[in-house]
Amino acid sequence: MFDLIRSNKRRSVALIASFVVLLCAVGAAVGVLVGYGIAGTLFALVFSGATAAVSYWKADAIALRLSRAVPADPEEYRRLHNLVEGLCIASGLPKPGVYIVNDPSPNAFATGRDPKHAAIAVTTGLLEKMNRVELEGVLAHELSHIRNYDILVSTLAVTLVGTIALLTDMAIRMLWWGGARSRRSDDNNSSGPLAIVGIVLIIFAPLIAKAMQAAVSRRRETLADISACQMTRYPPGLISALEKLRDDSTEVRSASTATAHMWIEQPMSGMKGEGKPSRFHRMFDTHPPLEERIELLREL
């Protein structure tokens, strides 16, 4: 179990590193084609970073407001609070805020910039459908997101995606309007194969970046599953919960693509009734397929 956790963390680092490499490649391409490579990259990075920093700092308030979550009353939701407190003792984390989302579909999310400013929300549907050990498994999964600083990791990923998107956007505009400039100057390698590679890269980089962000998200979800089992020392709880989620087919009403990555299960999948989605579609999933997650946990 500890080995799996270590290897997952290593893979996350590798993904973020390749993200940075992609960013540098795009920056270089822009520099070659349009000029202002370094300045452009820095500008895009700073702008993207600033917006991401704001959303990171206020992550808990934003996420809760977006999903219309209300604080869970300690008297009414005694069991929920007890389970969260028990898990906090097991992991040494401070107790996060506990919230309820009024929705019949079973789901849960965690948010907050660090363990001291964190919050967990569960839907009323989840509370109805899960028994004690299953609920505990789901809560352990969410607490693991907090413990592993996943909000920070996904903010990093989002910043990088934003930077790449901004950069390529600016470059395409400059190419379109000022393309003549690069054609005129002789000491730029702006003709021939390098230019074509550069243009292809600029066009596809945002797509690649999005796919990478989804890959990071999937890796962290798996890490959270394994960390949850390490916290409860009881894999069958989470396995049973995931099986119930797999067999349930209601959709979360208060989610959108913007918040999709936070929930324990993909709130809108293109999967219901259509059989397996295309491989291309699967590259952009924020969560690994439930079957895969269940199989992995069974091996523990």
Binding site: G86, I89, G92
Partner: protein, 184 residues
């Protein structure tokens, strides 16, 4: 001149490194101490919940005197148990058994089972048993982290010099490994 500066720089680095390692060891050892006292906090919480439970049950099941008395007796011996782990484990076991008997009782008294107070207490006790288990788990995890850093290479050197000693894991006593009996 530069050679001297380099030597001073290296020594400064070593000192900083040493401070960082020492602080890490201290932090881990303190976590272990904290985790140990956490266990007692949760055990005490469980003991404190019992008088309430007994009162609630008495109201509905006055002729189940035996079971109620067993619970009270077990609680008192748990509070009075000497500090060694074996005696505590035994008292703990008796208490768990008596409580299970009490909850099994409630199956025969539907009024009691529906009583909000009783349900709340049952929830609290179940949760507290969970907390005790998690507190012990956290203690063991902290001991693991502490022992690991004591025995791995760079910190190994400091540990001996500054008298950091290895801690023991919390292990279930043989008495605690027996399953408490519930009789109908």
């Amino acid at each position: 001149m530069t050679a001297l500066l380099i030597v001073i720089g290296l020594i400064a680095l070593l000192v900083i490194f040493g401070i960082v390692l020492y602080n890490g060891l201290v932090r881990r050892r303190n976590t272990v101490e904290n985790a140990w006292s956490q266990i007692d906090v949760q055990l005490k919480r469980r003991i404190d919940l019992i008088p309430n439970l007994v009162e609630t049950v008495k109201g509905y099941a006055t002729h189940e005197k035996e079971t109620l008395d067993a619970v009270i007796k077990a609680r008192n011996s748990a509070m009075a148990a000497p500090a060694n782990p074996a005696a505590q484990a035994q008292a703990d076991n008796m208490l768990t058994g008596a409580l299970r008997q009490l909850f099994a009782l409630s199956e025969a008294y539907p009024d009691l089972k529906a009583n909000q107070n009783f349900l709340a207490l049952q929830e609290e006790l179940t949760a507290t048993e969970g907390r005790v288990a998690y507190a012990r788990q956290f203690y063991n995890d902290s001991v693991l982290a502490y022992n690991n850093s004591l025995q791995t290479f760079p910190t190994l050197i400091f540990a001996k010099m500054m008298s950091f000693t290895r801690r023991e894991f919390f292990e279930a006593e043989p008495a605690a490994r027996e399953v408490p009996k519930v009789q109908f």
